[in-house]
Subunit: 226 residues, 2 copies
Amino acid sequence: MDYKDFKKQYAATATDISRDVFFKNQGVMRIKKEKTAVTNLSKIFEAVFSITYNKGYQAMSMRDLSLKTGMSLGALYAYFPGKDELLAIMQTQAQAMVKGTLVKFSNAHKNPLEKLRSVIKAHIFLSELFRPWFYFTFMEARNLTPKGFDAVKSIEEHTQKIISDILVEGEETGVFKPGKHDLTACMIKAMQQEWYLKRWKYTKQKISVDQFTDHLLDMVEGFCRI
Amino acid sequence: MDYKDFKKQYAATATDISRDVFFKNQGVMRIKKEKTAVTNLSKIFEAVFSITYNKGYQAMSMRDLSLKTGMSLGALYAYFPGKDELLAIMQTQAQAMVKGTLVKFSNAHKNPLEKLRSVIKAHIFLSELFRPWFYFTFMEARNLTPKGFDAVKSIEEHTQKIISDILVEGEETGVFKPGKHDLTACMIKAMQQEWYLKRWKYTKQKISVDQFTDHLLDMVEGFCRI
DNA sequence: GTCTATACACAGATAGAC
DNA sequence: GTCTATCTGTGTATAGAC
């Protein structure tokens, strides 16, 4: 599976995300028509990413957001109760996306080696497809309430455990060396994150997501396989 | 060399940093007495780290800083011209520390393998010794002016090149496998950063800086050595 | 649903007494 | 060197017309 295959298989778009957010947050949104809501939520998210990429969420003012979306301040507040809540909504959405995808790709294979490859690839490819969401989640995690920050940590531990479980399973079936699988899983996650945290570097060096992923897999297999 | 050895050898403290900042920025500081300046700069930096760790620099108000340091607003402005400039001063200082240390440890050995180990270790140990500085630099880099952000990128590329040069040299002398050394260097940097970006994880799992470093070196050597 | 106008809190920064 | 008091701009958020 390369990135192109993944995109076909996954087939989610920015619109799908906005629709998801709309249905999950109908309780707090004053907008009732799905089509209007989805269109404008997409505009809002895009604007948030574009503004915060260079200066962070706290530095983004509601007036910035109003200007970038072309919507008035009053209109914006019909889509979310306040600036803090918008952040929380976006973070929750991003977490749901990651959790769902990894479980799906982890169950797609039986063989531990294939499983490991599949999970590592799926995470990187997902982060490529929804890069702004991933970057945003990482960088703005600490602007959340303590409870929200705990949720982010919990996702991190969850995805780490998916990987270390595969390593343990592989050790038992004799394809992976024994070792500190928890630490290895942490390192793998660190390298995966590199892809969306330092994107400027790879754009500059003209390294594609497939090249990056293959290199990561080479390193991991070089270290783990018997 | 383990972390304990490094600390002895390096022997820098928070006070040394403040003194360094004082001498480098005498032009913009209204304080003239070294002792007063060093004491209060240390208080200021510590307060900045403590406040921004949970909410970022932009969200820290000068009143927060005044409260935490126990200094008045007026007093604070005698130490730096403005909030933005304080950020710039701190970033510049952090960059100088990294650059100086890596060059020093890279030149401490001739053998590429020893060199690689030394540089990787030095970076992690330095980030452990001045953890708040490293975390702060990474997380607040994008709050800088474009010029300041370029400086951060340039440091990143510089340290990456130190590593990839060692890998190339090792390939030539026959100790390392051929490969995409630039990409490998990026991965190594990603794993090094993991140590100070996700410190909560390792505190929780009770993993020491020496254990972490050894594991990273095992992975790198497993992949690179012939 | 979306707009304009505005309330009101709090930000960064400075002046001038001590 | 440090303080208190204060200026002025900008922030989030809302009310009410359309």
